[in-house]
Amino acid sequence: MDFISEHAVLVVSLIKIAVLLFVVMTALAYLTWFERKVVARIQSRWGPYYVGAHGLLQPLADGLKFLFKEDVTPPASDRLVYTLAPFLALSLALTTLALIPFGPPDIQVFGQPVFVVADSSIGLLFLFAITSMGVYGVALAGWSSNSKYPLLGGLRSSAQMVSYEVSLTLSVVGVLLLAGSFSFNGIIEHQGGNILHWHVWPQIVGFLCYITAAIAETNRVPFDLPEAETELVAGFHTEYSSFKFAMFFMAEYANMITVSCLATILFFGGWLSPFPDSWTWQLFLPGVGLIALGLYCLYDTVKEMRGIAQLQFAVVTLLCFAGGAICLIPRVMPIAQGPFWFVTKVGLFIFFYVWIRGTLPRFRYDQLMSFGWKLLLPVSLANLVGTALVILLVKR
């Protein structure tokens, strides 16, 4: 205990990093399941259904497949850069998650905040620094594969990422002007109160610019021409197989999660609840929600599932009930509030991402670039100037 309290920063940080990595990797795996299910339902089909109850073991099967596939390296490629690119992409995508607060900073153990790994006073600036380095993963992958389609896809994709990065950063500056701080906890606390104080209402233009630029930045539909299957084979990751391809895949989903977390923090109040703090009944929400989910799973287990799927889904039901029961312990109730609201909002954003993927056609490359430079950038700038003017006039 003495050792822990002396080196509190180091020990607690290591534990937080380990827990965060584990949770994030599991979330990434099940994000692929979620996407396939939602896109399938939009297209009037079932999606993964057979591998485990409701396809819940599909990510495990996919992961094993990626691990055991043969790793083919194109012969004329630049070995060092070819191997470096996916590692760079994945490590940068995962590093940004260290800055994100999942809950209030005053819940602490051994003097260290529990819900954020690295609480920095310029967290937002660091996050943009790390995402701006993400261009290299794509560009170097395209170059080092030494083949037509990856080179074109890599160049187009990195040009797109660099262009939309400008609008992304500008659309966020309005929020910075309002909140007056670069740190995430400062921005979240500025939105305290209830849903009417969130930044999305005064900054609706900024929010729309941010969401558009974020979808373009993460190379998702409708901005995914550089990696679309019908256009450029697979774009910059054509020549990658097995684990390196899995790393690019995970990096894309991790970027999606990061951008959704950022949207939640900047515009939707982060871990704050939409109801005012005086409504104490909201403390029961996490527990009640999980138990409701458990009841639905119970119904499904009893009525629909057969055989081994029934067993698996019974386990899922038990987990939901256990989670709900834990969240209803009075000691745990206030602690569970922050992460519950944060995860709900991020989940809604990810659902929105996947919904757009299933619905919209994709932009042509020249349409994409002209949209980014000729429409999105002026609108972000106008939003910034307008916000600054309003703040100046109101302060007088």
Binding site: D78, L80, V81, L84, S121, I122, L125, F126, F128, A129, I130, S132, M133, V135, Y136, A139, L140, G142, W143, L151, L155, S158, A159, V162, F182
Partner: protein, 169 residues
């Protein structure tokens, strides 16, 4: 052997290794990657010195935009490995020793300079005089004119690059 000194030496070793790799590498893309490594380690050193905003600007602008430009140009021009030719006698017997002597001389005179006794403690300085707020106050009050002139300079650079790129078609 406190943590800041260890961190400094690790970053310094990485920076010097990157700089040597930049000179020694045969492919330009490897030189570009080494330069990116140097810039990122320098950003960590700026953090150690307490200049947090400059560290972020270094990564966002220098390592994240200028070097992307370099990498694009290398890819566009398909720059290949440099041909290794034998150095001229002048370069081998006069150039290399003089170069090493330059390095050692700079290091020696800096070491003997009077700045030595000052120490830097990055961790506590971040919230003090070097915060982003103080920097922006200084920039927009006393250095407003150079700031505006720099924005015109960037505009000129954009126009110049556009004109040059057009003429090559």
């Amino acid at each position: 052997m406190s943590l800041p000194i260890i961190l400094f030496f690790v970053c310094a070793a990485l920076a010097v290794a990157g700089a040597i790799a930049l000179i020694v590498a045969r492919e330009p893309i490897h030189s570009a990657l080494s330069l990116i490594l140097v810039m990122v380690t320098l950003a960590v050193l700026y953090l150690l010195l307490g200049a947090e905003f400059i560290a972020a600007v270094q990564v966002i602008v220098y390592a994240g935009a200028v070097m992307v430009l370099f990498v694009f140009v290398i890819m566009l021009l398909n720059a290949s490995a440099e041909v290794r030719t034998n150095w001229s006698k002048m370069a081998m017997y006069v150039g290399v020793p003089l170069g090493i002597f330059l390095l050692l001389e700079i290091a020696y005179w800096v070491w003997r300079s009077s700045v030595g006794p000052n120490v830097a403690n990055g961790a506590t300085a971040a919230t003090g005089a070097f915060s982003t707020r103080a920097l922006s106050m200084e920039l927009f009050k006393h250095y407003l004119f150079p700031f505006e002139v720099t924005s015109i300079l960037i505009l000129i650079a954009i126009l110049g690059a556009l004109v040059l790129a057009k003429r090559s078609e």
